[in-house]
């Protein structure tokens, strides 16, 4: 298992975390795309375990989940795939509470350990509810990452106090916003855990975010390219990843 820390230890370089939905369009394609992500120089890979109702996701990721589920992808297939991949960067899961709860916390996190998955993000298990997964995940060396929204200083500090892995800062929402700079500042006051923020697609957005954070998360851009090119997305993915990685890694 490669520790999440290693993504943030490269000569103070800003990290690029890349998200991909497992099984979209098929698991064979996912295997090849994961190789491609590793070769492109991203610093951590987030694997989405598809869920029928991913309520916190954009329509692009919701559709990717449905495509994967229509192919019958299940957690066991994803664990089996990850077990055989030679990992060069930390791997993290992103999924919803129910598939994990249904699999059984103990069994799920023990398989994470076997498969070399160092962390998990579960959007519908907020800070208040995460004790039930955190204790068990810890036994197997799996970090449970927290998400924070840039809406309330008090809330950011409450959540970040016990953060592990990295803090996943959500995009701005509606009108309740304190802004990226002050959200990061607030978090840094209470934790030494790196802060990463998702961005939509353009390299300019990524660079702007990287100036304030420890890393950027490619939220839906990879999923969009795969939605468009399906099993033949290799060339487009390489082109896109090269531009993001190069630009973000040169931010000081």
């Amino acid at each position: 298992m490669i520790d999440i820390k290693t993504a943030f230890e490269k000569q103070k370089q800003k990290a690029v975390v890349a998200f991909i939905t497992a099984g979209d369009p098929t698991l064979q394609d996912t295997e090849r795309y994961i190789e491609l992500l590793q070769e492109s120089g991203v610093d951590a890979i987030e694997i989405g375990i598809p869920f029928s109702d991913p309520i916190a996701e954009s329509h692009f990721i919701q559709e990717a989940d449905l495509r994967a589920l229509q192919n019958g992808v299940c957690p066991d297939d994803i664990f089996n795939l990850l077990e055989k991949i030679d990992k060069k960067v930390p791997f993290i899961f992103m999924t919803y509470a129910n598939p994990v709860f249904f699999y059984g916390y103990e069994r799920f996190f023990s398989r994470c350990q076997q498969a070399g998955v160092a962390g998990i993000i579960i959007p519908d298990i907020p800070f208040e509810e995460n004790a039930e997964v955190k204790e068990i995940a810890k036994k197997y060396g799996v970090a449970v990452l927290d998400m924070v929204a840039p809406v309330s200083e008090k809330r950011i500090q409450k959540v970040c106090q016990q953060a592990e892995g990295f803090v996943y800062l959500l995009s701005d929402m509606g009108t309740f916003n304190i802004g990226l700079e002050s959200a990061v500042k607030n978090a840094k006051q209470v934790t030494a855990t790196p802060i990463c923020k998702e961005f939509d697609s353009t390299v300019e957005d990524a660079v702007k975010i990287a100036q304030y954070t420890d890393g950027v998360i490619i939220g839906s851009a990879i999923v969009k390219i795969i939605a468009q090119h399906g099993a033949n997305a290799d060339a487009e993915l390489k082109k896109y990843l090269n531009s993001v990685v190069k630009a973000v890694h040169s931010v000081k």
């Binding site: 869920f51 029928s52 109702d53 309520i55 916190a56 329509h59 919701q62 449905l66 589920l69 299940c74 957690p75 919803y96 509470a97 129910n98 598939p99 994990v100 709860f101 249904f102 699999y103 959007p123 519908d124 298990i125 907020p126 800070f127 208040e128 509810e129 927290d146 998400m147 924070v148 929204a149 809406v151 309330s152 809330r155 959540v159 959500l170 929402m173 509606g174 009108t175 309740f176």
Partner: protein, 394 residues
């Protein structure tokens, strides 16, 4: 253990982006629920506008035809807008207004909660947008137009199974992006804390009245209280003040659709397992990998893959009993009660009436039972005609 628990069920399993809105709502609810002026204003709306208290009607002809316990009907169908949904919609709209919100959003299945919310919004001068699955807009076209008449905007939900579950997903997404001026008026006793508590409290007037009414009419408590259960708002309202009366059986009737041994069912207690979804730990219909299962019922209002956490707890603790009722049985009850008593019940309520007839037969005419007629059946007439093979459209 976090807030809002009923045994191991409940909680607040929502994306971080919603926590701020939930904290704000909980603080406001705690402030207003015991506030004398708020309670008085709410009670006045219920009495003067919605027509409460609703009747507890002794269905003598029906009871004698069945030949068992006296069957009392709690007539929520006689409320303004034609169902129990108005109780909660008025309560939440008033609360939202006190919080300074100017816009209500709501999910709806059969359209009854959508209509109730649109009505409350019109009365209190608020904007209203209702999310309704595409399937349901077809099944309940009349209610879609009714909401538009009341000044609401209706969004057709095209994602997932295009029913109630997906409408809830859309509302949660919408609330995340616009929490400042918007209150999410959730219609069932489901979702993250504090919703199951708020909805139950606003619906508890049903059992509060029914308990007093039956004591006045019969001088004793009923043998059983029966209500239909989708998410479970009318049933939790009907059960609530009887929970401590240990000798009163509480019976929830779930929509079995084409049968609990088929995939076309929405009977969560009969076929579901514990899970985490829509903000709560509760029981859900799901597949072998924890994916939420598509559910089916003739009734759009009961077509939901989960059940409120308080019901899950009442079931788990053995205090309440839950039974599946099929489409066929519900349609038969719909027709039987219409013919026998001159009351056309909602297809949702017909699930409760179907089983209540069986329960009544277990007792003698000295005993009584209460059934909640959660809504009136006018909205279902065309669908039932089609079910019986007649070409009738709204």
């Amino acid at each position: 253990m976090s807030k809002g628990r009923f045994g191991k069920f409940g909680g607040q399993y929502v994306p971080e982006a919603l926590m701020y809105a939930l904290e704000e709502l909980e603080a406001a609810y705690n402030r207003f629920k015991d506030d004398e002026a708020f309670r008085k204003e709410f009670q006045t709306l219920l009495n003067e506008y919605a027509g409460r208290p609703s009747r507890l009607y002794y269905a003598e002809k029906l009871s004698k035809a069945v030949g068992g316990a006296k069957i009392y009907l709690k007539r929520e169908d006689l409320n303004h807008t034609g169902s129990h949904k108005i109780n909660n919609a008025l309560g939440q709209a008033l609360l939202a207004k006190k919080m300074g919100k100017t816009r209500l959003i709501a999910e709806t299945g059969a359209g009854q909660h959508g209509v109730a919310t649109a009505t409350a919004a019109a009365l209190l001068g608020m904007d209203c947008e209702v999310f309704m699955g595409e399937e349901d807009t077809k099944r309940q076209a009349l209610n879609v137009y009714r909401m538009k008449l009341l000044g609401a905007k209706v969004h057709t939900v095209m994602s997932g199974t295009k029913t109630l579950k997906d409408a809830v997903n859309e509302c949660m997404g919408e609330w995340v992006t616009r929490g400042e001026d918007t209150h999410y008026c959730l219609g069932s006793a489901v979702g993250p804390h504090p919703f199951p508590v708020i909805v139950r409290d606003f619906q508890a007037c049903i059992s509060k009245e029914a308990r007093a009414q039956i004591l006045e009419k019969e001088g004793k408590l009923p043998k059983a209280v029966v209500a239909c259960v989708g998410g479970g708002s009318n049933s939790i309202g009907t059960f609530y003040h009887f929970i401590e009366d240990k000798d009163v059986r509480l019976i929830g009737c779930e929509a079995a659709g084409r049968g609990v041994d088929t995939f076309e069912t929405a009977a969560t207690i009969a076929t579901g397992k514990t899970g985490i979804f829509h903000g709560m730990k509760s029981l859900f219909c799901q597949d072998d990998h924890g994916q939420i299962a598509p559910v089916y019922s003739i009734s759009a209002g009961l077509d939901y893959p989960g059940i409120g956490p308080e019901h899950a707890w009442l079931y788990d603790s053995g205090r309440a009993q839950y039974v599946p009722v099929t489409d066929d049985e519900a349609v038969e009850a719909f027709e039987y009660v219409s013919r026998e008593e001159g009351i056309i019940p909602a297809i949702e309520s017909s699930h409760a009436l179907s089983y209540a007839v069986k329960v009544a037969k277990e007792y003698s005419p000295e005993d009584c039972i209460i059934v909640c007629v959660s809504g009136r059946g006018d909205k279902d007439v065309a669908a039932i005609a089609r079910y019986r093979g007649e070409e009738l459209y709204d």
